[in-house]
């Protein structure tokens, strides 16, 4: 199971507490993880990625294993620790404003 942590506003929107645990078919990439998130929680469509272009929203960041993956290719494999469910894939609202 892939572990995904959403920021608080999106947990509230999706009516979930804590981490998500999702079955994600191989290969485990940012695209396949986010596809699985949106399939399970369709109300999140458009909040992480643009509906059409699938580009990351500019103030949403993706972290895992203490790395910022926001600028990685969406089809690049995620770290093995994420694919194995040992580490979570973190969706983070960027620090912005003052």
């Amino acid at each position: 199971m892939i572990r995904v942590v959403l920021p608080a506003p999106l947990r509230q929107l999706a009516c979930v507490d804590g981490e998500l645990a999702l079955d994600v078919p191989a290969p485990v990439t940012q695209r396949t993880v986010l596809d699985a998130v949106e399939a399970r929680y369709p109300m999140l469509k458009g909040t992480l990625r643009d509906h059409v272009t699938q580009r990351r929203r500019s103030l949403v960041r993706f972290f895992a294993c203490e790395e910022d993956l926001s600028h990685e290719e969406p089809d690049a494999p995620l770290p093995e620790a994420v694919a194995a469910g040992k580490e979570p894939y973190l969706v983070v609202g960027a620090i912005a404003g003052g």
């Binding site: 506003p9 929107l13 109300m43 469509k45 458009g46 909040t47 509906h51 949403v60 912005a96």
Partner: protein, 371 residues
């Protein structure tokens, strides 16, 4: 006894204020969607328990929420606003072409006859409609196809379609307004649009009387006189008696004719309200005094209404969608401020009382009169 339900959108959530017809004791519900910008919340005239809300955030984008029980519970509905076809370009601040990009929904206008049909005004300016209760949204592309579209430019707040008025006597006729393009009218249900800005004069554009380019802030209409429109422009309060074909100024004795809101009394189509704001550089009320101005003559002759409103050290603004009227026999007037106050007058403006005074900045106020 009739009741009222006031729907308040703020920078950090939505609030629902309810009272009986006396409008003296209020129940405050909220924040709904705490932390989110709530640009507009409005109920269906056909089914008052059907509410639609525009919820947005710089981080997570646009959502549309729907309630079927008067705001007790909400569910997200469709939030995809895709421009029809190739979006094309409009003019950017520096004069260069800029692709149309969806940013947020400014205004939701439920149909007068069908609770599942709602019109949406968005930024970058376009006109959308749902006919399935918000599940899917589709652009009515005739507006952006108006020949002037590539020349529209954003105002300071963005290029937003912020005003939608449905003619109660003619389902094919609608009005919209865009900052900073101007006002437009359709007479064929949205297939084609006509710019209706003749008579407007805007000194901040190269041709002050151009067909488009005017920063219209808000437009209001009384349902019994659908050909008469009142407009608060960037500067100037305007009036049209021919469905927008021609406008003339009715600022009269206002201390300043800059402002954002304008509304019409529920039972007196010649009684109108504005809240003058100091200037385009000073977006707060004049002289530290919060005053609503009322004209009982359809403009030109204005009286200040200040009883119950702060008359010193007040420097708030009242934004374009933040005034509404109820339809009780003694017409109630409501407005919200950027300082987080929502005021009510249960006597057509003669006196005011705050319903709440410490909310986040108020973006919009709508009121429902319930049986």
């Amino acid at each position: 006894m009739s009741r009222v339900r006031v729907l308040v959108g703020t920078r950090k959530g939505a609030f629902i204020l309810t009272a009986d017809g006396k409008r003296e004791k209020w129940n405050v519900s909220g924040p709904h969607f705490p932390g989110w910008e709530m640009y507009h919340i409005k109920g269906s005239p056909v089914d008052p328990n059907r509410l639609y809300a525009s919820q947005s955030s710089s981080w997570f984008g646009q959502l549309v929420q729907r309630s079927d029980d008067g705001g007790a519970t909400w569910n997200p509905v469709g939030n995809q606003f895709a421009y029809d076809g190739v979006p094309g370009t409009h003019q950017w601040y520096d004069g260069t072409p800029h692709p149309w990009e969806f940013k947020r929904v400014w205004h939701l206008e439920p149909s007068l006859t069908d609770p599942d049909t709602v019109y949406a005004g968005i930024e970058d300016a376009a006109f959308f409609r749902t006919t399935d209760g918000g599940t899917s949204w589709h652009e009515l592309p005739g507006l952006r196809a108006h020949g002037s579209g590539p020349h529209w430019t954003p105002g300071a707040g963005g290029m937003c379609l912020h005003t939608i008025i449905l003619d109660p006597t003619n389902p094919e006729r609608m009005y919209i307004a865009i900052s900073a393009a101007g006002a437009f009218r359709t007479d064929d249900g949205g297939k084609s649009w006509k710019a209706i800005n003749q008579g407007l004069r805007s000194n901040h554009i190269p041709d002050p009387t151009a067909e488009v380019g005017h920063c219209v802030h808000h437009v209001a209409m009384h349902k019994s006189k659908p050909n008469t429109l009142f407009m608060q422009k960037h500067w100037d309060v305007m009036r049209s008696d021919d469905a927008g074909d021609k406008w003339h100024e009715v600022s009269g004795n206002l201390p300043t004719d800059f402002g954002f809101v304008i509304d019409v009394h529920a039972h007196e189509p010649e009684t109108i309200y504005v809240v003058p704001i100091t200037s385009d550089a000073h977006h707060f009320v004049m002289d530290g005094k919060l005053r609503v101005y009322r004209s009982r003559t359809g403009g030109n002759e204005w009286e200040a209404l200040s009883k119950g409103l702060p008359q010193e050290n007040c420097y708030v603004n009242v934004l374009r969608d933040a005034m509404a009227v109820d339809s009780l026999d003694a017409c109630g007037i409501y407005f919200g401020t950027t300082g987080g106050q929502v005021y009510c007058s249960s006597n057509a403006g003669d006196s005011w009382m705050p319903i709440v005074h410490d909310l986040p900045a108020v973006l919009s106020v709508e009121v429902q009169t319930l049986p």
